[in-house]
């Protein structure tokens, strides 16, 4: 299988070299929220210098003073304390709460997440246990019970809450680490002689830093909310000014002086909202382009050539000057198929050959009408028995798919829905196109499974995809494709993911079915051996264009285009056997600089 082929997703290709932080700077949402937070933090830091009063200075004469009273710009509360000074001090309280809560949760969560995820399963089950214990532990209870120890100090409270919040981080980190630790670069680092500690720090933690930073932003906001909620409930010392306590006190005075309630609510709201929005921006920056919805519909068409035009043709499939493009982040269209012309006659097998990125799969998807939602067909026509498929709606296309055109994918496993039995999926396809009853469809599927060479059709029918082998899954997919005797079968690298021995069997099966059903087959592949084995004609693609086409024999024996020649030349043929003897390092010792 060619990974290069798989990773091609022209709509989503990441632009080269832009650090997440630079991306953040270009995101207005991030800039605005971050500067808002920065201003608030600065105000908090400057509080000792700019606050007109001590937050606990209570003047009886100032009780419920109106905003604008001299010395009390925002008024005073029901204890005669200056609201503005209390607001400013509350900023520090919530920031310190956020810092303590988030950093404790992060420190614990990350440490144990790394340990639990990276090391063996025994250590993991220990950490799992400890964290499910922490998770099920009633937090408020712990706070109240520990009050004699904490003396109601909110910093201590946040420390405890940090511990209580850590399971969330632990899970995130552990899952990320489990994902990363099986990456080959971690293996490579081990082979390179790095210690576990260094691997964890340099290769694991560094790679998963994005999600952790995002989680930290949300955690920070969460810790601030927790502190506000606790203060609202009256847990802890009342001498510490905080938004929660101010909201709670202001709420009591709601009918007398609504502003007392409003100020802390607004400021708290602004802080938490900014953190949420900043977290979202961080997510966008670190996790790449936003997930775009995946609309299921026929591809967008920019310009339809002869939409209504249906002209009689002796060819089964005629692709003419097909151009497919994807929008780039800058909005321009990037063409990946640049004017492909292809002709397939009834009953013949055509190989569409090319290297990754040549546009062969895109062409195949265009014929089926299943291009990704972002794709745009810029121009061209695809005619099946003379009828132009471009511009047809999803509904119209559905009438053709499964009846006239069918498809065999490259990777058998990912093309079966893991949640349904193999049989159920095939039955659904057959019933969608034929309207057979459930029982009839089931009979038909069992017969088909037998036809594609499955030894125990009943058992396979009832199996889930993960219970069958890759070769078997490919046979199932072939059965699904030929179920309604299509006129045209598009096979996209149908054997690439399979072992050679299985590949040979699948090719045999395709050959037999093709003869039996008199289908035309478009075989998309990069493997010239496969082409040689099964194709009547070949079209060679390079950079979105067909550079050469002809009968199989012509192209193999007398390739005309230099690219075809180059490709054929690169094949490791049977004759090339290594003949030079091993060169021992000792023999080279004089020459190298060891």
């Amino acid at each position: 299988m060619s990974i290069e082929e798989l990773s091609i997703d022209p709509g989503l290709a990441a632009p080269p070299r832009r650090s997440p932080f630079r991306k953040l700077l270009r995101d207005p949402q991030a800039v605005i929220t971050a500067s808002l937070l920065l201003v608030i933090v600065l105000l908090g830091l400057l509080t000792p210098f700019i606050a007109p009063h001590d937050p606990n200075e209570a003047q009886l004469s100032a009780i419920n003073a109106d905003p604008g009273t001299p010395g009390y710009p925002l008024g005073a509360d029901q204890n005669g304390r200056d609201i503005m000074s209390r607001l400013l001090h509350s900023i520090n309280t919530s920031m310190i709460s956020g810092l303590i809560g988030a950093s404790v949760a992060l420190a614990i969560g990350i440490t144990f997440g790394l340990i639990g995820g990276y090391f063996g399963s025994r250590l993991r089950s220990v950490t799992e246990w400890v964290f499910s214990l922490v998770m099920t532990f009633p937090g408020i209870l712990l706070l109240i019970v520990l009050m004699p120890v904490t003396k109601g100090d909110y910093r201590f409270t946040m420390l405890i809450f940090g511990v209580l919040l850590s399971p969330g981080i632990y899970r995130i980190v552990r899952n990320l680490v489990v994902g990363v630790k099986n990456e080959l670069y971690v293996d490579a680092a081990r082979v390179a002689g790095l210690s576990n500690l260094r691997i964890l720090a340099r290769h694991v933690l560094f790679v998963i830093r994005g999600p952790i930073i995002i989680a930290a932003a949300f955690l920070f906001g969460g810790a601030i909310s927790v502190q506000a909620g606790l203060a609202f409930l009256g847990v802890g010392s009342t001498l510490v000014p905080s938004f929660g306590a101010m909201i709670s006190e202001g709420f009591l005075n709601l009918y007398i002086d609504p502003m007392q309630f409003l100020w802390p609510s607004v400021l708290l709201g602004v802080i938490t909202a900014s953190l949420v929005l900043l977290g979202n921006s961080l997510r966008d920056a670190f996790e790449g382009v936003k997930l775009k919805p995946a609309k299921i519909a026929a591809p967008k068409v920019e310009q339809v050539a002869g939409r209504a035009e249906s002209r009689p043709s002796d060819a089964l499939l005629e692709v003419d000057d097909l151009v497919i493009a994807y929008p780039t982040p800058s909005g321009k269209l990037n063409e990946v198929v640049k004017g492909v012309t292809l002709r397939v006659n009834a009953g013949e097998t055509v190989g569409l050959v090319g290297e990754s990125g040549s546009g062969k799969t895109q062409t195949a998807f265009a014929i089926l009408g299943v291009l990704p939602a972002e794709a745009v067909i810029v121009r061209g026509s695809i005619r099946l028995e003379g009828r132009n498929l471009i511009g047809l709606s999803e509904r119209e296309l559905r009438q053709l798919r499964g009846r006239s055109i069918a498809y065999i994918p490259q990777e058998p496993m990912s093309n079966l829905d893991p949640s349904y039995t193999v049989g159920a999926q095939l039955v659904e396809g057959i019933r969608a196109t034929t309207g057979l009853s459930k029982r009839e469809a089931r009979e038909r599927v069992l017969a088909l499974l037998k036809r594609v060479g499955i030894q125990d059709p009943k058992r396979t029918f009832d199996s889930y995809p993960h219970q069958i082998s890759g070769g078997m899954a490919q046979r199932v997919l072939i059965a699904g494709a030929v179920a309604s005797r299509p006129k045209l079968l598009i096979a996209d690298e149908p054997t690439t993911a399979l072992d050679v021995t299985v590949q040979a069997e699948i090719l045999d099966l395709l050959r037999d079915l093709q003869a039996e059903l008199d289908m035309a087959v478009v075989l998309v592949t990069h493997n010239f051996g496969v082409v040689a084995d099964i194709c009547d004609r070949i079209a060679v693609m390079q950079n979105g264009q067909v550079v050469e086409s002809g009968t199989a024999l012509e192209v193999f024996r007398e390739p005309k285009h230099p690219y075809t020649q180059k490709l054929l030349g690169a094949i490791l043929d049977e004759a090339t056997v290594r003949t030079d003897p091993p060169v021992s390092a000792g023999a080279l010792a004089g020459g190298t600089t060891r």
């Binding site: 060619s2 293996d187 390179a192 002689g193 830093r209 084995d533 024999l553 290594r578």
Partner: protein, 287 residues
């Protein structure tokens, strides 16, 4: 031949079963092989045969449940983590997938210099060595400043090779190093492997599913089938006149890139399958 560089004797590897009380499965049932200095041993087999596990066991990435691995005269079957780290100078790896074998968040320069720094090189020496390495694998020098995702598959595999070459090892385990590459790139990278071997005298344990690739690079070839080595011999003979029925099937299943030759091979394959079928029937009848 004197003492081989790598000697694997009766290697067994067992994977614990997934889940509660699941049965453990043995994926290697006693595999033996040797590699001499500067030699390439091709290990060929299909998916699930255990070929990759051999390489991973030699690298210490999986723990053998039996057998011995002797490298350069030292028994490394069960060495400590610290010893294993020392081995990194001598024993290196190139993985199949150049997309996940390079840390996406490190520059190529960092990727290449990290093993050197870990082994005690100064930053300056490491930088110099990185330049040499990039030259050796045919990458431009400014590559050091860039991230892996800015390179094509073939170029990334060159980075991976350079990383393996960095400590000047005696043996590189190559786990399907070209199977993720395009046809034209594949040939070039293979030639790079051969060229480096000729130049440095490094030995390869070259694991692949593709007979033609193995044939191209190996001095000797071992065929793995369901956790056992069924055939070992010089590349030429194993890949053209195999003795074991499985190797024969494998050979004939690989299509030739020529319609007429391939038709012949196909016919030959049908004949062979028929023979095997009859043999199996007879064996069944006797039993």
């Amino acid at each position: 031949m004197t003492n081989p560089l790598l000697e694997v004797t009766d290697l067994r590897v067992t994977y614990p079963g997934r889940g509660f009380r699941a049965k453990a499965t043995e994926v290697l049932h006693g595999v033996s092989l040797t590699i001499g200095e500067g030699e390439t041993l091709g290990v060929v087999g299909e998916s699930g045969s255990g070929k990759t596990t051999i390489g991973r066991a030699v690298l210490g990435l999986v723990k053998p449940s039996g057998g011995r691995i002797i490298f350069d005269g030292q028994d490394i079957t069960h060495v400590s983590a610290a010893e294993r780290r020392k081995l990194a100078r001598e024993l290196q790896v190139v993985f199949q997938d150049p997309y996940t074998s390079l840390n996406p968040s490190m520059t190529v320069g960092d990727i290449l210099s990290e093993p050197l720094v870990v082994q005690g090189a100064t930053a300056k020496d490491a930088r110099a060595r990185v330049r040499t390495l990039l030259d050796q694998v045919g990458l431009p020098r400014d590559a050091a400043e860039r991230l892996p995702r800015e390179f094509s598959g073939g170029q990334r595999q060159r980075v991976a090779i350079a990383r393996a070459l960095a400590p000047e090892p005696k043996l590189i385990v190559c786990d399907e190093p070209v199977s993720a590459l395009d046809l034209s790139t594949q040939a070039i990278v293979l030639d790079l492997f051969i060229e480096i071997q000729r130049r440095t005298g490094v030995a390869y344990l070259f694991v692949s599913h593709d007979l033609s690739v193995v044939r191209h690079i190996s001095h000797r070839v071992s065929v793995v089938y369901k956790g056992d080595i069924v055939e070992t011999g010089p590349a030429a003979s194993v890949t053209s006149e195999p003795e074991h029925p499985y190797t024969q099937r494998l050979l004939l299943a690989a299509p030739i890139a020529d319609p007429i030759e391939q038709e012949k091979r196909r016919a030959e394959r049908y004949r062979l399958l028929e023979v095997h079928r009859q043999q199996a029937e007879q064996a069944g009848a006797v039993a």
